[in-house]
């Protein structure tokens, strides 16, 4: 069945270019990971294998606090944005087409299109007004901001899952005496669950490594792991940053692998 037509891998220079691109993508990361195991202070000279930077990072209270804050923020944002995205996905697929549907679709995905720095400045000004009026300066602002920009990341896989679902199943549930709530609880939700979990993981990862909006919105003493690292690098560069980055990388790869497996299993 293979069509013997145009095959891109036969073009001259395909292999060198592909190799170059992959090298550009992954070589810096590989070097970062290798140097996180360096025994010396320097990030450019190899002085032998050691786990000491992991130990130093582990002992660092600022890192600990930032990590806990990051996980707390990412988890909150993931749960809130996924909940809202699920409602939005149900609202845009489980009803007859309506006027302005495309507009709504664009509105939901707004954070993917508006430059992040614009959103960040807007949020800074908006939250400053609220802060002045209420005096509240807690984590609420960061959670609200992260939840908002995570919505499209949670929305897309959930919507894809819903669109691939046979709507006759919900009709069948109603026919078999399920109330609308029961039909959702026993048929729609279980079938939608892989999409919801995938959406939540994407939202979690997106929130976890956000810098721009966080830097603008955070109050004093609200450093997340990425903003803490940014602050550290400005002062002095040690392999401790490499160690933290490697852990963060490991966590992200793990979540994305899970996401990939979950979305693939459906077919």
């Amino acid at each position: 069945m293979a069509t013997r037509g145009f095959v891109i891998s036969r073009l001259p220079g395909f292999n060198p270019i592909a190799t170059l691109v992959f090298a550009a993508l992954y070589l810096p990361i590989i070097i970062l990971v290798i140097y996180s195991f360096n025994a010396g202070r320097s990030v450019s000279g190899w002085e032998g294998f050691s786990l000491k930077w992991y130990a130093i990072a582990w002992e660092n209270d600022a890192v600990k606090a930032a990590t806990i804050r990051s996980l707390y923020l990412a988890a909150s944002a993931a749960v809130i944005s996924t909940f809202l995205a699920t409602l939005a996905a149900l609202g845009t697929t489980r009803r007859r087409a309506f006027g302005g549907q495309t507009f709504i679709y664009v509105m939901i995905n707004q954070p993917l299109m508006v430059p992040e720095v614009v959103s960040a400045v807007a949020l800074l000004i908006f939250f400053a007004m609220i802060k002045q009026a209420t005096g509240y300066a807690g984590m609420g602002y960061l959670i609200a901001a992260h939840s908002a920009f995570c919505i499209p990341f949670a929305y897309l896989p959930i919507r894809a899952r819903l669109e691939g679902m046979d709507m006759t199943l919900e009709t069948a549930a109603a026919d078999l005496y399920a109330s609308p709530l029961q039909a959702f609880r026993f048929v729609t939700l279980p079938l939608l669950l892989p999409g919801i979990i995938a959406g939540m993981m994407l939202a979690f990862v997106t929130s976890l490594d956000d810098v721009v909006i966080t830097v603008f919105v955070k109050s004093a003493g609200q450093d997340t792991l990425p903003t803490y690292m940014l602050g550290q690098i400005r002062r002095q560069v040690t392999a401790e940053i490499n160690a933290i980055s490697t852990v963060l990388l490991g966590l992200t790869v793990l979540l994305l692998t899970l996401f990939f497996l979950l979305t693939r299993k459906k077919n």
């Binding site: 046979d166 006759t168 199943l169 009709t171 069948a172 549930a173 109603a174 026919d175 078999l176 005496y177 399920a178 109330s179 029961q182 039909a183 026993f186 048929v187 279980p190 079938l191």
Partner: protein
């Protein structure tokens, strides 16, 4: 009398769209479906048969008219409040549940005790001979098995009426024949009223107690298979169910004059200009053209195995098809271009006035 009626549709209209572009899927349909009968809605695709089924199930609301279930008005009741279950064309089995969980779903939603759900599920699986597959996921089943699960699932809550939306159309011919017999067995064993939708006239004739023939959103005729086949009320019914010859004729006293000049006796009609219809198997041929026979010429012979279709032209060009048992053609020595005498079995002639 009304005690024996399971479902009644009263002047039901269903229009899709609005204004001038609105399509009337159902146009003033009234029908009584009796308790315990196997009732088939038969018609070509787009005739409104599935729409009527969906209105009875409650998936759609009629634009006008009423639907009654055992005398009670259910027109505006949502599907989950109607003691009516559906077997879907696509089966619509829940992919995340096992066979047994699928079958027990309706009872579970009704809040029946667990023991009852389990017992009924087991009984239903036995009824459709799927006990061995109770723990399987539905995606691991063949088309015929999925069909049986869909049936068991719809029968488990013991509905007053079972609706079947072309449930056999996805099966191959052999399996379809088996399931036809199976469905009849299930219907007589459970005593539940079945409303079956199909576009397959043979399926309708072999399975139904009564058939409602639909076309263009209207119910054309309701009757037993024999009624419908032997006494079609109009041209659509005569041509949709089985094959028919249509002969334009003019009434002259008690007789009818065909356009070729021959006189034929047939039941009385009001209109002067009518169409006579005769089934191909009710046409008799003879090699010798007798005085009372209609002269015709053989234009084509099509061999079908058990029988042969003999296409004939009358003197005015009207085409008539005769179905002859295969040996008869050879015996009578019929050949192309030959002149033959043609007769219709007198009681088989129907008069259509449309």
């Amino acid at each position: 009398m009304t005690d024996s009626i399971a479902v009644e549709a009263r002047h039901v209209v269903k229009a899709f769209g609005q204004g001038e572009t609105a399509v009337r899927a159902l146009d003033d349909v009234s029908v009584d479906i009796r308790k315990g009968e196997f009732f088939t809605l038969l018609g070509p695709s787009g005739c409104g048969k599935t729409t009527l089924l969906r209105l009875i199930a409650g998936f759609e609301m009629p634009s006008a008219g009423a639907i009654l279930l055992e005398g009670a008005d259910i027109t505006t009741l949502p599907p989950n409040k109607r003691p009516v279950n559906t077997v879907f064309q696509s089966y619509a089995l829940f992919p995340h549940l096992t066979v047994a969980e699928n079958v027990g779903f309706g009872l579970q939603m009704l809040g029946r005790p667990k023991a009852e759900v389990a017992a009924t599920t087991a009984r239903m699986l036995a009824l459709v001979k799927l006990e061995a597959l109770a723990g399987r996921k539905t995606s691991q089943l063949s088309g015929g098995q999925q069909q049986r699960v869909a049936l068991a699932r719809a029968l488990a809550p013991a509905p007053k009426v079972l609706l079947l939306d072309e449930p056999l159309s996805a099966l191959d011919l052999k399996l379809r024949k088996e399931m036809q017999i199976e469905l009849k067995r299930l219907q007589s064993e459970t005593g539940i009223t079945f409303i079956f939708v199909t576009h397959d006239q043979e399926e309708a004739l072999t399975m139904s107690d009564r058939i409602g023939v639909m076309s263009a959103g209207k119910l054309q005729q309701v009757g037993t298979p024999k009624d419908i086949y032997n006494h079609p009320v109009n041209r659509f019914v005569a041509s949709f169910i089985g094959e028919s010859n249509f002969l334009p004729a003019t009434r002259e006293g008690n007789l009818y004059r065909l356009d070729c000049g021959a006189m034929i006796a047939a039941p009385a009609a009001k209109a002067a200009r009518v169409t006579l219809t005769v089934r191909p198997e009710q046409v008799r041929l003879s090699a010798v053209v007798e005085a009372d026979a209609i002269p015709a010429t053989i234009t084509n012979l099509v061999y079908f195995g058990t029988d042969t279709h003999c296409h004939l032209a009358l003197s005015d060009g009207t085409e008539v098809v005769a179905r002859l048992q295969s040996p008869a053609t050879g015996d009578a020595g019929l050949g192309l271009g030959q002149s033959v005498g043609l007769r219709f079995v007198p009681e088989a002639i129907q008069v259509l006035e449309d």
